[in-house]
Subunit: 206 residues, 2 copies
DNA sequence: TAGATTGCCTAGCGGTGCTAGGATCCAAGG
DNA sequence: CCTTGGATCCTAGCACCGCTAGGCAATCTA
């Protein structure tokens, strides 16, 4: 509904978004440790207590940013996966898109999956959104499940992507080999050695 | 050097280890955010400035703990890999040992690979130790490199393990499927789905 | 024993998250 | 018009954080 009751409430909502946007920018530019109540309040030109009128505490702000991130990630993954009818190509595109998003929005990614704040237990509707994101990954890898449990395979793929995302951010991996790592990962995970050629092996034991 | 010069220096070294051990215990029991200078100083029954006589700052303490962890991890990985002459068995054992160490020492693991403190740039001899750890993983996966670059494949494996370790700690993955995830990961990464001969999934239905 | 060195503590700085209490504004009622 | 009630916002402050200056006491050297 585009008319959120009164004008006051609309102004209030706008200010909430201002806080969120500013926190996100601050985190992306200087890291989450630089997002303090005083700095954030200064940046939005309010006093600290105003922040607490919108969010329970500082972690809740990071959680809200994380929620935005999950929504964005879902559409990014869906767009990548459905960019081609070829399952192998879709999987490769999804994996690349995942790592690209993590690289381009490191602070948001950190809020989502690295920070201790449990997004799962944040609010009631959060798990549904997270399940959607998980389902996107599953849809990409499921054609290659063969005899294995698709959900477990999805967890394996997600973990592998998550590991590459975080270790790359921490400059623990050679940045140059980014492309090769993704390609090698999805090639091996999808079960055959030439993923360009399509599905390849379909049944090893009947 | 078993004789560290004077008695004073030996006492000093003992106190350094006391600080390190206490910090590690504190981190494992209550998390790194609970390891503050005041609490740590209280726990070792000294004042805060004493800590700074041994370490440059708080992060340096976490780095020292991380260094201990890498040493431990190297031996754990080596023992696991060489526990069997079978390459596939060795790889599986190494992967399991890696995740087991991460699960049993979450704070140490966090200090090593999650905390922003760059262990690589910590001191001069650190990279060598890290390279040894990396080489251990590479030794386990290299037999399955086929035509692919072994180093890239090692990065892929390590990232995948790291992802499983961190997401498991954050309770983002189902803890029950721990074993299945490792088995599926190394089965697929090692190149084929059924030359594993009973290590992982598959034959548990009879 | 006198002097130098070292080890250690108390006290304090600026910063953090967060909250209480009073001031101020704004919309509705007499 | 003025008054009143409620929402809005800020100043000031608490306890805690990492870290450091300065002084005191114990120890080693001569």
């Amino acid at each position: 509904m585009p008319t959120p009751q009164s004008r006051r409430e609309r102004a209030r909502e706008e200010r909430r978004e201002l806080i969120l946007r500013t926190a996100r920018e601050l985190a992306e530019s200087d890291g989450w440790q630089a997002v303090t109540t005083r700095r954030l309040a200064d940046s939005v030109d309010y006093s600290q207590p105003v922040l607490y009128g919108h969010f329970k505490n500082m972690d809740a702000i990071a959680d809200a940013v994380a929620l935005q991130g999950v929504e964005e990630l879902v559409t990014v993954l869906r767009d990548a996966r459905t960019s081609t009818p070829d399952p192998a190509g879709g999987l490769h595109a999804l994996a690349t898109a995942y790592l690209e998003y993590a690289a381009e929005h490191p602070a948001v990614y950190e809020a989502m999956f690295v920070r201790p704040t449990a997004l799962t237990f944040a609010s009631a509707d959060t798990p549904a959104l997270l399940k959607t994101a998980f389902a996107e990954i599953q849809a990409a890898i499921e054609p290659f499940a063969a005899g294995d449990d698709p959900e477990t395979l999805t967890e394996v793929l997600w973990s592998a992507l998550h590991g590459q995302a975080t270790l790359t951010q921490a400059t623990r991996l050679r940045p140059a080999n980014h492309t090769e790592r993704v390609a090698l990962l999805i090639t091996r995970l999808s079960g055959n050695s030439d993923h360009q050629g399509g599905l390849g092996r379909g049944h090893t034991r009947g």
